[in-house]
C-alpha cells in the first residue's frame, strides 16, 4: 500500500492511536520526551529574535516529535545516532544535555561544540550523536559506523535520521546498497514531511513510497503514519532489535509534518507552497495531541500530571537559557589545533623514529603496462 500525505488527509482526522497493552512507564516517557522537545523548541522560537543572540540557522522540529521520542527509549548509550540539519530532536534523543545545546546555539564556549558547529552541524561525541547540514552526508557515515560495529562484533547499532529529500542524493542509494550487501546493523529513519524547503516531494521524486524503492535493494522497510508515536515506537523497536540481533538494516518511512517554516522561527507561508488546510490538519493530528488524548482518556495521565511535567521541563529550559547566556564566548582561536591534532599518542607508542635512508635517483621511472 502506498501511503502519502494526501492519503493520510483523505482518511480524515486520525483515530487509530491505541495504547492498549502498552506499559504505562513507557507511555509516560514517550509523552514526557515529546513534551520536553516541543517546549524546548517553542522556547527557542520565542527567544530567537528578540535579542538575536542565537546567531545561527536553526531548523525547528515542532510537529516531528514522535521519532526522536521513540529513539530516546530504544537507544543505549553505546549506540550511535546520526542526524541531519533538523537536529534538536535527535540530539536530545541520545541523551545529550540541553544546556550544552542551548549554549551551542548561543555560540558559547560551553556549547556542545564550543560554538564551532551551531544547530545544523551539532554533535555531542560523548553521547555518540553526530550531525551535519549537508543532506545525506551523515547518513553515509552511519553506515560506516554500522560497518565498524559489525567488524568489532559488538551489540551496538547505528541509527540515522533524515528527511525525505535526503533520498534524492546519490550517496543515499550507495549507503542502502552497501548496508544491504553487508547486512549492517543500521536503522534508517526517514521523517517524510513532504517538503524540501518549499518544494513538495512530487516535484522531486516519482510517485510511490520511498520505502518501496529501498525494499527493492533487499532492505526491510516499514511505512507508517509518523505522528502515531505508538506505531513509530513499535516499528523502531523491531528495527532496533533486528539490527542488534545481526539481522541487518531496516528503513522506516514515517509520514509527519513540520509546523514552522523550513528554517528559522518565522513561518514561511507567504511563499504559498502549502495550504492553511494542510497545516491545520497536521497541527490537529500532531503526535503529542494524539497521544495525550489517549493518555487522558484512559487515565494514564491527568491534566495535573501534565502541568507538573511542563513545570519541570520549563525549569530545565530556563536553566539551559541561563547557562547559555552566562557562559563566555570562546576566546579560543588556535586554528591549527582546532583543525589538526596536536599529538599522535598511538604512533608514539607503536612506531620508531629512524634516520632517513639515501635514495638513489639513477633509476628509471616505472613504465606502466598497458593499463
Amino acid at each position: 500500500m502506498t501511503l502519502s500525505h494526501e492519503e493520510i488527509r483523505r482518511r480524515g482526522d486520525y483515530r487509530d492511536l491505541s495504547i492498549d497493552g502498552f506499559d504505562h512507564e513507557t507511555l509516560k516517557k514517550l509523552y514526557y520526551f515529546m513534551l520536553r522537545l516541543r517546549r524546548c523548541e517553542l522556547a527557542l522560537i520565542d527567544e530567537y529574535h528578540p535579542a538575536d543572540e542565537m546567531r545561527c540557522p536553526i531548523h525547528f522540529c515542532v510537529g516531528q516529535e514522535a521519532v526522536p521520542a521513540s529513539l530516546s527509549l530504544l537507544l543505549k548509550h553505546d549506540d550511535y545516532l546520526f542526524t541531519h540539519h533538523r537536529s534538536h530532536g535527535y540530539y536530545l534523543a541520545k541523551g545529550a544535555p540541553m544546556n550544552e545545546l542551548f549554549a551551542e546555539l548561543y555560540g558559547k564556549a560551553s556549547g556542545a561544540n564550543g560554538g564551532k558547529a551551531g544547530s545544523q552541524d551539532i554533535s555531542h561525541p560523548q553521547s555518540r550523536v553526530y550531525g551535519g547540514a549537508i543532506l545525506a552526508g551523515a547518513l553515509g557515515i552511519a553506515v560506516g559506523a554500522g560497518f565498524g560495529i559489525q567488524l568489532k562484533n559488538t551489540s551496538q547499532i547505528a541509527v540515522t535520521g533524515s528527511g525525505e529529500a535526503a533520498t534524492e542524493e546519490g550517496i543515499f542509494w550507495e549507503a542502502i546498497n552497501f548496508a544491504s550487501v553487508k547486512k549492517l546493523p543500521v536503522v534508517f529513519v526517514c521523517e517524510n514531511n513532504r517538503y524540501s524547503t518549499h518544494s513538495p516531494q512530487e516535484n522531486r521524486q516519482p510517485p510511490g513510497n520511498i520505502s518501496s524503492r529501498v525494499a527493492a535493494f533487499g532492505v526491510r522497510t516499514e511505512t507508517l503514519f509518523g505522528n502515531d508515536v505508538i506505531k513509530v515506537y513499535a516499528a523502531l523497536k523491531k528495527a532496533v532489535e533486528r539490527a542488534r540481533a545481526g539481522e541487518g538494516p531496516t528503513f522506516v518511512e514515517a509520514f509527519t509534518y513540520r509546523w514552522n517554516g523550513h528554517v528559522g522561527p518565522e513561518n514561511d507561508d507567504h511563499i504559498g507552497y502549502r495550504t492553511a488546510d494542510e497545516i491545520e490538519f497536521w497541527k490537529r493530528n500532531c503526535p503529542i495531541a494524539l497521544l495525550e488524548r489517549q493518555l487522558f482518556d484512559q487515565g494514564v495521565l491527568s491534566q495535573a500530571d501534565k502541568e507538573k511535567m511542563s513545570a519541570e521541563i520549563d525549569e530545565e529550559i530556563a536553566d539551559a537559557f541561563a547557562f547559555a547566556k552566562a557562559s563566555p564566548f570562546p576566546e579560543d582561536a588556535d586554528w591549527r589545533r582546532l583543525n589538526l591534532s596536536p599529538s599522535t599518542p598511538l604512533a608514539d607508542r607503536l612506531l620508531k623514529d629512524d634516520a632517513s635512508a639515501q635514495f638513489d635517483q639513477n633509476q628509471q621511472y616505472a613504465i606502466p603496462g598497458p593499463y
Partner: protein, 332 residues
Amino acid sequence: MRKLNYGKAINEALGQAMELCPDVIVLGQLVDYKSGIFGTTTGLVDRFGPKRVQDFPVSESVMTATALGASLVGLRPVLVHQRMDFMLYSVDAIANWLALWRFKSNGQSSVPVTIRVIVGRGWGQGPQHSKSLHAWFAHLPGLKVAIPATAYDVKGLLLESIFGEDPAMIIENRSLFSMNDHVPENAYRVRYGQATIRRKGKDLTLVAIGVMVPMALRVAEQLAKEGIDIEVIDPRTLTPFDETTICCSVAKTKRLAVADPGWYTGSFAGEIISRTCEHLGTQMKAAPLRVCLPDSHTPMSSALEARYYPSDEDVANRIRVMFGRQPACSAA
C-alpha cells in the same frame, strides 16, 4: 640495508600496521584480489582474512563515509583508490565531513582515516586517469597530505598516517612504484611537516614534489657538471608543510625553483614560491621559477604525453636560463 621498491614498501607498511594493531583495516575496489592494486595489497587478505581486507562496491562516495563512520567506532581504515580521478566522487565526504570532523566537534572527536590515492601516468592514461590534484587537498584545513617520493618515505608516512589522529591522504604516483630504495624492516615513522634535503648545494634551492624528486636529483647531478650547485629539497608532506627548511635553504642560495607534477595555475609550487617570497622577497638574486604541467588536461597520445610532462632536459634548461646560460637542445 635492504632494498625494496615503492609498491612493495607500501605492501610491507600495510602488513606491519595490520600486525601491530587489530583495528587497521583496508578497503577498496579489488584490494582482496590477487592482482593487489599494483602489488601493494598482495597477500594481505591471506594473512589477515576477509574481514580486515575488503573489496568495496564501486561507490567511492559512501566508501569514504564508511571509513569515517568506522573510525568513530575505533577502527583505523585505509582506503585505496586506483586513480585520483575516481576519488572525485567522494569529494563531499572528504571536504564537508572528513576534513572538518575534528574542527566541528571542537577537537573532541577524531577520525584517523588514511586515504591512499594513486595518480596515473603514462601509457595513454588520458584525461580521466591521470589527475594529480594535490594542490586541492593541501588547500583543505583538517586533512594531512603526504606525497612521498621514495619507498623509504612512503612506508614511514603510511605508518605515521595510519597511527596518527587526523585524516590523511597519501598521494602515490604510478611512475614511482618500481623504484627501489633502502627500506628498514622495522615499523618506523616519517613525520609530517618535515622536509628532507636530498642534496646539498649552494647556488639554487630546487624544491621537488613527489614524482619530480628523482628528476630534480638527476638534473642537479647534470648541472653540477656545468658548475651550478643545486640544493634539492623534498617537502614530503604538503599539510603540515615545512616552510622553515625551505626558507633556510633559500636564505643561503638566494634562488628558488619548484618542480611540481600538477597544473601550473593554482599549483602548490605557487604556494611554495609565494611563502618563500613573503619571507625573503627582497633578498632573492633571481626571480623564482616554477616547472609544472601546462594548464591542460592530459592527452592520451604518447606523442603529446611527451610534450605534456616536463622532462629532465626541460627542467635543466629552465634552470640554465635562470643562470643566464644557453638552454641545451632537447634530445629528440
